[in-house]
């Protein structure tokens, strides 16, 4: 692949976002690479390890209590993407902080911890405890607030679509993370995303991650029923890339906050489209599930010297 002449950035070089310097600009997206402890043993002839050159692993979203997730089937492939309704299955905050975070530090995995809650004030204690246990950790870079999961029913409303609630969540987390990166991950399922990003930035977050999955539903023609037991789920993969680019563009042009682009990024070319808009970093989701080396290969392909070597 030949790289365009405007691309001169090595995405495997450190990048400063907010108060942190992260080792690169190609990250893996929450829920698509577990906690960053899987796949270490898998090898390839080209890049070697799935973790080679990766800027950060954003962990599976962690909630205050453990969750066993939604009923099966939870993941249905469509022609240009997939709909999932995993339902934030995770080990819970206590177990994550005690067992997983130290293991990530020990392995040297650059980590951003994704958190979700059902009330804004729950983010405070979760971040406080993370900061306590993670004090002195060099590979734990910060927190991504998942304000946008379509697959949890509690509360009965999508609280990530109200600017006031988004601000409350960021404000609850910020004081506990003075020297860590704080990211708000937003939903695309709103008419305008910029007001949400502006509210998050004003409340003190360092960057916006966009987008989470697009609400979707598919029908099994044989039964006439939705393919997922909960009817709708989150649509991801190449089909949502133009939607993600439009949402990132809206935020970048209307709000002066660093943006981390997510949505349908499968190849180095796809990542370049987000960088062309001015994204500080990108995350690879669905493609990382198909290919443990997706992010690592992208990072290698986007090094300015890659074309010549």
């Amino acid at each position: 692949m030949t790289l365009p002449i405007w691309w001169r950035t090595d995405p495997t070089q450190p990048v400063r976002i907010g108060p942190r310097e992260l080792p690169g600009r190609i990250w893996t997206a929450s829920g698509c690479f577990a906690y960053g402890l899987s796949g270490h043993d898998i090898r390839s002839l080209d890049v070697g390890s799935p973790y080679a050159g990766i800027g950060a692993v954003v962990t599976k979203t962690v909630t205050p209590q453990p969750r066993s997730g939604n009923p099966m089937p939870r993941l249905v492939e469509l022609e240009h993407g997939a709909i999932n309704s995993i339902g934030l299955e995770n080990v819970g905050h206590a177990e994550f902080v005690e067992a997983v975070l130290p293991a990530l530090e020990e392995r040297g995995v650059p980590t951003v911890v994704s958190l979700a809650a059902t009330r804004p004030d729950e983010f405070g204690p979760m971040c406080e405890r993370l900061a306590e246990v993670g004090r002195g950790f060099v590979h734990w870079h910060g927190v991504e607030l998942n304000l946008s999961c379509p697959n949890v029913a509690e509360g009965g409303h999508d609280f990530g679509s109200s600017p006031a609630t988004v601000a409350e969540c960021v404000a609850a987390a910020r004081p506990h993370l003075p020297d860590r990166l704080l990211i708000a991950k937003l939903t695309p399922n709103v008419a305008q995303i910029a007001p949400l990003a502006a509210a998050a930035a004003e409340a003190g977050c360092d960057a916006i991650a966009a987008i989470n999955t697009v609400l979707g539903l598919d029908i099994d023609l044989e039964t006439g029923q939705p393919v997922l037991p909960r009817r709708f789920g989150g649509y991801s993969g190449p089909a949502i890339r133009p939607i993600a680019l439009a949402k990132c563009d809206e935020i970048i042009r209307q709000v002066g906050v660093p943006v981390i682009g997510i949505g349908g990024i499968e190849t180095a070319d796809d990542a370049l489209r987000f960088f062309a808009l001015g994204c500080a970093a990108v995350q690879v989701g669905t493609a990382q599930m198909r290919d443990p080396f997706a992010a690592a290969r992208m990072a290698a392909a986007l090094r300015p010297d890659a074309a010549t070597t």
Binding site: G31, C32, F33, A34, S38, G39, D41, I42, R43, S44, L45, K60, S68, G69, P71, M72, P73, R74, L75, E77, L78, E79, H80, G81, A82, N84, I86, E89, P229, G237, P238, T286, Q288, M289, R290, D291, P292, F293
Partner: protein, 279 residues
């Protein structure tokens, strides 16, 4: 979890053969750029290469690995396997494996096995039977009819059952009925405890688990849950296993904690209708 399993590799291979071995089963041979080991019961995630590939790879049990060639047996059931059937010699295939927890490796204390393979459940158990040629094992395969049975792959250690007897070639024998019926007949003739190993449709797995449970025998089953990633990151292929948790059960990923499970640890009641569990 027993001895260490071989290192998984993500490799692009080339098709060297893709041909029917029975009316319902095809065999795919892929030449990989390096040797990759496996233990029977482990699987690989396959996909086409480049544009046009599937959003997710598809899991297939490893039938054999001979030098750099990895072999699979498969049935066409949907879009992915139809694309697979259209692959020609020389076409590229993405192959990630070996993955997952294999079948138990027998030692001197392991009782003789009762192997129950149904349809496309054949490859992992065929590999197991090839790896451990123990004379007292009872090895059974169940197919739809005589034509569905890949006779050329089954040596005379194999006992065969068919739902319908038509198409059984001259000189070969097949029990008419379910493979569990065949097993019950065989067990009546051979005494003593057995290790039951099963792979195939869920009703077969349930029957195998019950047969073992009723007799207090150990049993391992391989589940063929639909998968997203195949390497433990997406939680799209979970199955309920019994646990000491308050709830009494928890989700296990069938790609990482399985696909082979100790049947006694599975929560069979919860492994409900969505898993084809009608029997």
């Amino acid at each position: 979890m027993g001895p260490v399993t071989p290192t998984p590799w993500d490799l692009t291979g080339r098709v060297t053969a893709n041909e029917p071995v029975s009316t319902g089963l095809l065999r795919l041979d892929v030449a990989l750029p390096r040797t990759v080991g496996f233990r029977p019961g482990q699987f690989a995630m396959l996909n086409l290469t480049g544009p046009g590939q599937l959003v997710f790879r598809r899991p297939f049990s490893i039938f054999a690995a001979d030098g750099e060639t990895m072999s699979f047996l498969y049935r066409v059931v949907g879009r992915g396997t139809a694309l697979m059937a259209a692959l020609r010699e020389g076409d590229a295939v993405d192959c990630l494996g070996p993955l997952g927890r294999p079948f138990l490796r027998p030692d001197a204390d392991t009782p003789p096995a009762l192997v129950l393979a149904g349809g496309v459940g054949l490859p992992p158990l065929h590999a197991w039977a090839e790896a451990h040629k123990r004379p007292d094992d009872l090895i059974c395969f169940g197919g739809r009819d005589g034509g569905d049975v890949p006779w050329s792959l089954l040596d005379d250690r194999w006992h065969v059952s068919v739902d319908r007897a038509d198409g059984v070639p001259p000189g070969r024998q097949a029990h008419e009925g379910l493979v569990t019926g065949l097993a019950t007949e065989l067990l009546a003739a051979y005494d003593g405890p057995r290790l039951v190993l099963a792979c195939g449709p869920t009703p077969l797995l349930r029957a195998a688990a019950k047969l073992a449970r009723d007799r207090g025998w150990p049993c391992e089953v391989s589940l063929e849950e639909h998968m997203g990633c195949g390497y433990g990151v997406c939680k799209g292929c979970v199955v309920p296993v019994l646990s000491d948790d308050l709830a009494g059960w928890r989700n296990a990923t069938s790609c990482e904690e399985g696909p082979v499970f100790d049947a006694a640890t599975l929560d069979w009641d919860r492994l409900g209708a969505s898993h084809g569990g009608v029997a």
